[in-house]
């Protein structure tokens, strides 16, 4: 039992001409858990999901659902529900009719269509043409289509894209609930923060290759490291060296941060304080921190990011006329003091994880010394996104089932 709901990929490879989208991917997705499928843009997540659904033919290897290739699955819509692309709907057809024609394929009664429309909260716009839908409404329609056949295996490709906070919370709870009912839930995302809250198991890929396949618990303990931030008076460089020396001597790891603070690992806070006191160094700051999963994820996928943004040099552009200041969020990073200092703009790095991490072997301190690699912006919004979850939980008593 349970085996018939398992998704299994073996040596999955997909090439488009010279470009290899997915290379030798092998993993299993088990029932009864939410499995997150994580990777940067263009890392092959959607390609993998399309191969699972028999839409794309693998160049090598195979992927099966319950032991069957998707194309030979008996009554596929009743066994596998999928949300691939929220906008993959004929815009001239109403939401209800769209679901109705999908329902008829699997012999699902029309009453079920109205049921799922209620589940995703689209009953008021059921008769409207879907080309007027927002991205979030499209996502809800796509989720409704996936739920239609009450399938035991569910695939969602970036289901929270375009959803409002309430919608995100709803999707999160829905995934968990589906998994708790013993179903196989496979969710792709490029947001670690979202996966950390939703998934029980994580499969991380980069450039189409498997980077990590472990439970979220293991992922956290393997990848997130506690550290202390120590700040000493800025005008006393010799004190800084003194403290660094004594901390290193005591077995701590010390790394300078761009703004002059020190990042100390491997020593408890009281011990750092004692050492500072012993070497007669005044501290302006001694604070505990935890590297976020986002950082761990960034470090893991750093070598595998295909599309990396760079600072906008604005070559050849006139300086803006007076009165037109740099647009917030668009100017070059140096002009943006409002970004928290915790997320340094240059020379960003994450602490090395305790214990060996086979995946981070390549660059410990990131090679790209270029100003502003992508990562910095991400960790900051990550945490707040997670926090407001609870208050909304009470307001949205609407049961997703």
């Amino acid at each position: 039992m349970g085996l018939w709901r398992m998704i299994e990929a073996v040596g999955l490879t997909k090439r488009y001409g010279a470009k290899t989208a997915v290379y030798n991917l092998s993993f299993q997705v088990r029932p009864g858990a939410v499995t997150g499928f994580l990777g940067p843009n263009g890392s092959g997540k959607s390609t993998t999901m399309r191969m699972m659904l028999g839409l794309d033919r693998p160049t090598a290897g195979h992927v099966t659902i319950g032991g069957h290739a998707f194309r030979s699955l008996p009554n596929a819509p009743r066994q596998v529900g999928a949300l691939l692309d929220a906008k993959a709907v004929h815009g001239g057809r109403s939401a209800r009719n769209h679901l109705l024609c999908l329902a008829q394929l699997a012999g699902i009664p029309a009453a079920r269509v109205d049921e799922v429309l209620g589940v995703v909260g689209l009953q008021d716009v059921a008769k409207k043409r879907s080309n007027g839908f927002s991205l979030g409404m499209g996502q809800r329609l796509g989720i409704a289509a996936a739920l239609l056949g009450d399938p035991q295996v569910l695939l969602f490709d970036e289901p929270v894209n375009g959803l409002d906070p309430e919608g995100i919370l709803w999707v999160r709870n829905l995934m968990k609930q589906l998994a708790s009912e013993g179903r196989t839930v496979f969710v792709s995302s490029h947001l670690m923060s979202e996966m950390a809250l939703t998934a029980d198991h994580l499969i991380v890929i980069g450039r189409g290759q498997l980077l990590s396949d472990m439970s979220i618990k293991d992922f956290i303990s393997a990848n997130s490291a506690d550290f202390a931030r120590v700040r000493i008076p800025a005008d006393r460089p010799e004190q800084r060296e003194k403290l660094t020396a004594s901390l290193t001597e005591a077995g701590g790891g010390v790394m300078p941060e761009p703004d002059g603070a020190l990042r100390v690992t491997g020593l408890p806070l009281p011990r750092i304080s004692d050492l500072a006191h012993a070497s007669d160094v005044r501290l302006w700051e001694l604070s505990p921190h935890q590297a976020s999963l986002e950082e761990a994820y960034m470090r893991m996928t750093q070598g595998a990011v295909d599309y990396r943004s760079t600072a906008d040099a604005k070559a050849g552009l006139q300086p803006p006329p007076p009165g037109y200041g740099p647009h917030p969020g668009y100017g070059d990073p140096a002009q943006q003091p409002r970004l928290p200092a915790e997320v340094p703009q240059q020379g960003w790095y994450a602490p090395p994880p305790p214990g060996q991490n086979p995946y981070a072997a390549a660059p410990v301190a990131p090679a790209p010394a270029a100003p502003a690699p992508v990562p910095p912006a991400a960790p900051a919004p990550a945490a707040p996104a997670a926090v407001p979850a609870d208050p909304t939980a009470r307001q949205t008593s609407e049961d997703p089932r």
Binding site: G54, D56, N75, A88, V89, H90, N97, C101
Partner: protein, 259 residues
């Protein structure tokens, strides 16, 4: 396995819930009937101005179907859109995820849309015939006359086949725009022009529309047109071969390519 009746049912829902179905089919009907009626009335008024050869081969049934040249274009649009919107909207992935058996998917879709096109085609050709004969006055013919029923029935089949041919082409090209961009000029210009050019004529008469339209002629070589080396039924057969080829091509593309 999604059963064939289920897929047929679903495709019927798909086709009746988009407005393009209505307007393309209505356009095919209206254009064919109206243009056929107008030309019939015109020829009735100017019958005496026709050349002797044209008068000798005057074919009242064929004259009534003059609107087919334009009306078939609406059928082309219908056929292309039925398949093409699956690709342009991305619905094809949802559809194929629900019906992994691509053969069942394609042929169910084409069966439903083709049957609908055939029905509309038959309605169009019968209405066209009776209206145009009423307007032709003294020069008209009767449905009971030799070969007339074959021509009128054939006119409906012709429209249905044009639509199915377009569906096959759209499945091969996987794009509405591309398919329309090729089929519309082909049927409206290329085929018509080539069939009038002396050298190209012998090839052009094997084009699907040129061969198929022979079924609508009651009088051989009607209206002094070029004699064809095949009869009305063979002509329709040639057209059917084109349709089968387009469908096989479409099926192979759908089966082999990634959606």
């Amino acid at each position: 396995m999604a059963s064939v009746p289920a897929v047929l049912n679903s495709e019927w829902t798909k086709i009746r819930t988009v407005s393009s179905t209505t307007w393309t089919l209505v356009a095919a009907f209206v254009v064919t009937v109206a243009m056929g009626a107008a030309l019939s009335a015109l020829l009735n008024a100017q019958f005496d101005d026709l050349s002797d050869a044209e008068r000798a081969t005057f074919d009242p049934t064929y004259v009534g179907f003059s609107g087919m040249i334009l009306g078939q274009l609406a059928m082309v649009v219908f056929g292309v859109l039925v398949v093409g919107t699956e690709y342009s909207s991305g619905m094809i992935r949802t559809s194929l995820a629900a019906v992994p058996q691509r053969g069942s998917f394609l042929f169910s879709k084409i069966a439903v849309a083709g049957a609908l096109a055939l029905l509309v085609g038959l309605a169009t050709s019968f209405v066209t015939f009776f209206l145009s004969q009423a307007l032709l006055g003294d020069h008209s013919t009767d449905i009971g006359a030799d070969n007339v029923l074959r021509a009128v029935f054939g006119g409906g089949v012709y429209m249905g086949l044009i639509a199915v041919f377009s569906m096959g082409v759209a499945t091969m090209l996987r794009s509405s725009m591309l398919s329309l961009g090729i089929l519309m000029p082909f049927f409206f210009l290329v085929s018509q022009i080539l069939s009038a050019v002396p050298g190209a004529k012998s090839v052009a008469r094997y084009f699907p529309d040129q061969a198929g339209s022979k079924i609508m002629q009651v009088v051989p070589d009607a209206m002094n047109s070029d004699p064809a080396p095949y009869g009305p039924w063979s002509g329709l057969g040639i057209m059917a071969l084109w349709v089968v080829a387009a469908l096989i091509g479409g099926y192979l593309v759908l089966k082999e390519r990634d959606a």
